[in-house]
Symmetry: C2
Subunit: 472 residues, 2 copies
Amino acid sequence: MSKGTNEDFLAGLAAVTGPGNVLTAPDDILPFLREPRDLFRGEALAVVRPGTTQEVAEVVRHARAAGIAVVPQGGNTGLVGGQIPDASRPMVVLNLQKLDRIREVDALTDTMTVEAGVTLLRAQEAAEAADRLFPLSLASEGSCTIGGNIASNAGGTAVIAYGNTRDLVIGLEVVLADGRIWNGLGKLRKDNTGYDLKNLFIGSEGTLGIVTAAVLKLFPRPQGRATAFCGLSSPQAALDLLALAKAEAGGAVTTFEFLPRLGLEFVLRHAPGTRDPLGEPHAWYVLMELSSAAEAGLDDAMERILTAALERGLVDDAAIAASLDQRNAFWKLREALSEVQRHEGGSIKHDISVPVALVPQFLEEAAAAAEALVPGCRPLPFGHLGDGNVHFNVSQPVGADKQAFLARWEAMNEAVHAVVLRHGGSISAEHGIGRLKRDLLPAVKDPVALDLMRKLKAALDPESLLNPGAML
Amino acid sequence: MSKGTNEDFLAGLAAVTGPGNVLTAPDDILPFLREPRDLFRGEALAVVRPGTTQEVAEVVRHARAAGIAVVPQGGNTGLVGGQIPDASRPMVVLNLQKLDRIREVDALTDTMTVEAGVTLLRAQEAAEAADRLFPLSLASEGSCTIGGNIASNAGGTAVIAYGNTRDLVIGLEVVLADGRIWNGLGKLRKDNTGYDLKNLFIGSEGTLGIVTAAVLKLFPRPQGRATAFCGLSSPQAALDLLALAKAEAGGAVTTFEFLPRLGLEFVLRHAPGTRDPLGEPHAWYVLMELSSAAEAGLDDAMERILTAALERGLVDDAAIAASLDQRNAFWKLREALSEVQRHEGGSIKHDISVPVALVPQFLEEAAAAAEALVPGCRPLPFGHLGDGNVHFNVSQPVGADKQAFLARWEAMNEAVHAVVLRHGGSISAEHGIGRLKRDLLPAVKDPVALDLMRKLKAALDPESLLNPGAML
């Protein structure tokens, strides 16, 4: 594109959103072109920040007419680079943070209609203000947006009880690749009048349409909670504890997160104010929380579960939170885990899942594979045991060279993913594909599934204007 | 197609499935060409009954080569004619009942892999044999099949706690329109590696692909249950009771069905062995059940809910089941409802949903609209209050001519659906579109959504070989 048309294009954008919402100066757009792990640095003609769904549609139509691709972006917290444009062709970043209205909270119907740019935290708070729970919860909730959560089908720590983002969305408003707006913002729990368009856009990483608003499910706010931090000898013991807890408390098991001793050590070493709730070290730990709309009975249920687990030798020791402060302290041990790893040098990340029952076997084989590749490396698998979702991260050997270790990223991925695939697992359980794992996809995805995906992309975005280079 | 090619085609089918599985004699195929309400009578060259996924794929390829359309069929219990071929072009019925293997029950991963022709009842029993619950439950469960449940995204009486069929499916195996097999039978709770193909096929009524097997979610089997039959003065009181029950018992509210006095009268009159559990008549009734994996506490919770409801005037009287026999008797009052209506003459059916909070207003306006159209008609709205899903059926006036009343079917639909649409509702909450509501769709569906549906159909079945005339 010639410089002249480029300026025309930018002027057209400014006419849609106002000139203050079209950023082009390198310093202004830089924060939108880097992401949390600094794995990707993007290039863009501009960052445009529309304030309404209509403006989003107009930006898309304008970009389409000029042949410029559009990369939708929310809070820019994604971990696979799906929100960062690459240099393959001229692109603009369409940042949705200004679509930040909570359009409605309907406590009677247990729904909330929010725009894409609302942060997850604000959505949680709006639900709470209406005495309801919006259960999605993840590390970046202060800055990630509902639109990004939907585009990536975010998971987090409450999936075991409430499901992924997909399970929390009732309706969507989407700007399509041709600039039309699909208004699917119904508040119905049941509607069998045609294909499920909603789930096609959820998790599509902005490659099929741009989510501008959503109707979200609300739940009764938990009145009762019981939280325990348990020490165990093995992942299998943790799985058996989970089965016991589900048999005893069913849907009240709302958190079941696990981490190894190494993870707790990293946290105790690097996260100020943390302490080990248990007297002796244990090989593995589980953070288990029960919660329920009813106030009564949860402490008793937790007591019953832990007594039975101690008797059966599933749990070696456990502490039950006696106060809100103690609960928060337990949670901090889990939540600090993502952050503290960087203090221990390089860390190679995986976000995998296997069928729940196969997690112990996977952990053993994946650790052996990592050790075989880089002797002395320190596997730090943690995460959402109840979903079969393990963040199988691997920290560098103590004292090793960080860059030399990180240079093994792809080889390590390959070794770990080979174990994943042997167990019928997924190489991206909750973070998505984006640009980070795009080139891995053809090797791991069923070819028929991949062909169907390409057909769907061609049907909904024939000119490949939306987030080209992400996912496919 | 000439007679000669026709015979070649049938011979080709027989070569795939064996001649005994290709039915062509009118008496043999008749049962597959009529449906429960006898609203549709189909025409077909043959009914073919493959026994394996491979055979399904070969049948599809063979039909495609001959230009013959394929109508997938399970237990032939669908209520909108989606499983019945029409006369618009040459078709075969591909009946899946011989794909009836339960391939695996994995109690550790809480999944079950079953073929499309397994009846819902057999799937429930297989789960129970492994001490698990498969919660989907509907009137036709003895004969409807898992494949049909998935193709129609079946609802039923447990949606309030466990969701629709869509929410119970983890993986799918699908034969595509070109005869390829998509193996998506993973057992993963989380997998963000691409577009959500699964949900595209679920609820697509066999128009995008033929489901041949599925991985289904299993749940802990309820150990404790408490069941109450409540008399109330209004739908609003029922909604308030639901909110109270959810606040008190959360996810343990697994049934919340409602019916009017007229419904109970029909049942008492026509279903042998039924009796009114309450001393006095009430305008409305709710069947409420709590169930939970834990044995303890549900009777107490039910007592607390009903005591509070009686105090607040939400419930006028209630009976709690004191035995399994009594529980079954309460359930029979609800379950007999579908069948008894025919004893009271003609009945015009609707399967609608509105946002939950709007149900009372909808009921009032829809009853007025029906009465305005046919004075003396008897609205009998019942169903799944917690999902906003009302089977707004209308029985003929006492002593009126049945055929004359049924002749008003479309006019009645129009009047009731107009009220539905005013309340942001759906004209098919759980039964689907099929052939019965296909021509209504363009008038009620968002045109952008309808256009997206057509694009998806064209992308996945460009020759329109799969169930042409259903849905679109």
